[in-house]
Symmetry: C3
Amino acid sequence: GRAEMGIAQSSSTNSEVEMQFFTDIDVTFTMTGETDNGLTFGASVDLDEGGDGSSASDDNTDDGGATIFISGGFGTVTMGDTDGAMDWALKDAGNVGNGGSIADDETSHPGYLGAYHDGAAGQDGQILRWDYSSGAFGVAISFEQGDRDLGATTGVADETDGFGLGFKYALDLSGTTVNFGLGYQTIDGLPIDVDIVGVSVDAAFGNGLSAGIVYTDGDIFGVADSDHIGVGLGYTTGALTLHANYGQYDFGDGTEADGYGLSVAYDLGGGAVVHMGYGDGDSTATAAAAPSAVTSGDRKSFSLGLGLSF
Amino acid sequence: GRAEMGIAQSSSTNSEVEMQFFTDIDVTFTMTGETDNGLTFGASVDLDEGGDGSSASDDNTDDGGATIFISGGFGTVTMGDTDGAMDWALKDAGNVGNGGSIADDETSHPGYLGAYHDGAAGQDGQILRWDYSSGAFGVAISFEQGDRDLGATTGVADETDGFGLGFKYALDLSGTTVNFGLGYQTIDGLPIDVDIVGVSVDAAFGNGLSAGIVYTDGDIFGVADSDHIGVGLGYTTGALTLHANYGQYDFGDGTEADGYGLSVAYDLGGGAVVHMGYGDGDSTATAAAAPSAVTSGDRKSFSLGLGLSF
Amino acid sequence: GRAEMGIAQSSSTNSEVEMQFFTDIDVTFTMTGETDNGLTFGASVDLDEGGDGSSASDDNTDDGGATIFISGGFGTVTMGDTDGAMDWALKDAGNVGNGGSIADDETSHPGYLGAYHDGAAGQDGQILRWDYSSGAFGVAISFEQGDRDLGATTGVADETDGFGLGFKYALDLSGTTVNFGLGYQTIDGLPIDVDIVGVSVDAAFGNGLSAGIVYTDGDIFGVADSDHIGVGLGYTTGALTLHANYGQYDFGDGTEADGYGLSVAYDLGGGAVVHMGYGDGDSTATAAAAPSAVTSGDRKSFSLGLGLSF
């Protein structure tokens, strides 16, 4: 489980949230098993995703945050609230040596890209992914369905099925591992076909420094001829972890968005960490399928508090 | 806990649900204890039944899926989401050697009867049952209240209280046990008194075969002079379990419904089972108190997937 | 965890709830840890407070029933669903030797005061409290924020911040400990400033008897020049615990409310307790910020059942 307490604040062009108390709690139930012939399987769900009436337990056509997998010599098949193959392959700028924050400010500024269309454009985020790793090389294929209108006799929603492909490669350069990721994701129709392709490179050095860059190109959030670039830096020394990332969208419709994020984490040991997070950026983007942080104009947010892991 | 992943599909006269991903997850909390003088007690609730705002935890006049019991020399008293005495006594056709399916297709076809009015006709399914077993013989009495209009000063809803009675007997015929069940359930008023009576006979043979038959007669789903018959067959050999059931309603208003269900389960060991379920039937029934599957006209459903128990 | 089953009934001037089944279930998740330099920390949340869409897990600006703390030589800092400093310092009449009931009838009669404005007048109950104990003396300071209109650019809601102060002292009189509590709580504005001050004295004697009295004065439920007095008595002998309390409000607007509560608890051992609760009182109070039990006119309620702790 995990609990967070602290203070948080955010402001954007349309909204102003005063500094206030912040509390959050997660209890995760993880279950695993093994078949007679050696396949391993498991499932996990959070307390905040279970509950009566929730999608995880009451709507079988939506993952609702639950994840279920089975694994063997054929690789791993995962179903539910998991990464699509593109998100699986690429390393986000915010995942490079980031100690985290209680309100995720450093990964929710206007210039940040993290989900690569998982759950976008009428998809419900209920993903089926196969992935397989062999030595330095990994591959994944994912399939995601559009939301079905369950009571309707029309099959229109079928057209929004999504498909993803991802590759990973870990290159050993005299002791330092450089990770390469390549991903592609497409969603059919409604209203247009949305294709994006991305590449990432990152490395962790022996002196505590890590660095990464990720580039995405295509119909980002349904806007043709768009691209995004993200860079991330992390540094760990003793109990202290520092992280910074910068991201920039250049949309094909002439709008753009950029921003940066910072986080500081100080480990008190035993699972208690002091966290500070900050995000800041500007945007003229209007794409309807974009996350609200990307289209929120000038946006700043800040949080400070204690993260407790149990 | 339990998790399921696979694909499911259904079609009926008014509705067409395309083949799509299916995920479900259950986490059950079971608690037990014992008093100083040897009474045992316990309670259980599912993660998907707890949660904020759910009936299990926030509405004390509704069971919401929680079950609480206390047991001793006097038998067992159970309160909450439990079977009424009639459902306790009878063995449904779908419970005869059934390995189960992820979407319960084989027990949700138009010809299936399973709940014997527990929770029907304004009842809330919050049942109080006493049962007692002695050797081959068992008896149960149950009481269920109509939903109370909690803020109203009228006592009208009182008239829908339900009462049930059930008997079980296990006859040993040279090594094969034949189980007999007899049950009666009545709900007062609103709009009419609803009485049903049922009998079931089933047996499990040494060769892996099991068979059962159940017959119910009375005001089924509020329609006078109705009857229902159900038959079930099961066969287990090694890791494979096959099940089939057939059910037929003959309602007193001239409408009828029938259907059959099939399931195949293959046990991979360690709690992982591959499941296939199929249900198919036709119906002209219109009784308002009937489950939607019974009044859905021509209905087919299918599911295939993996059930994981932890 | 905890489960309760039984029967409950209540009646008041506007409402009549018939005797009916009562079931409730709680599953509490408690997590604790310790930092490298010896600070202890922890968090707890109930199953009925978690769940998808609940405030505990999905709304970080509301505690939603979760409690998080960190403790060290500086005292204890608690954030979330915890007592304000005034409620922390005072001992309610209903907390004096009370064995409890399944429906809390003895502490929900029209004359009962228990929360001392925690969560009242636009506050959301998300409290930050520091408390420190040294020998017989304890002190606490608490701060609670008004509900923020999260999407609005206005800061009006800021005016309803609450502040509390509490002191405890335990006096040893030849083997019997007499506890003194003193508390103050204020909420700014909206529509008026609400200040209350209270004092409590209680003691537990060697013969199983305990007694206490609590007095509160100020703008109770926003009505100026109001006061409340509560007295409680408890007696424990063997497995049996008896409790009675009486409370009376005298509001500055000329209205008043009083009532008494009784509870009987018989311990069966192993965590199973038989509980009876009764509350009875009259009220002419109309204060909008008062709990519904206080403004419900003539009110009686009763419950009988089994409480099971696991």
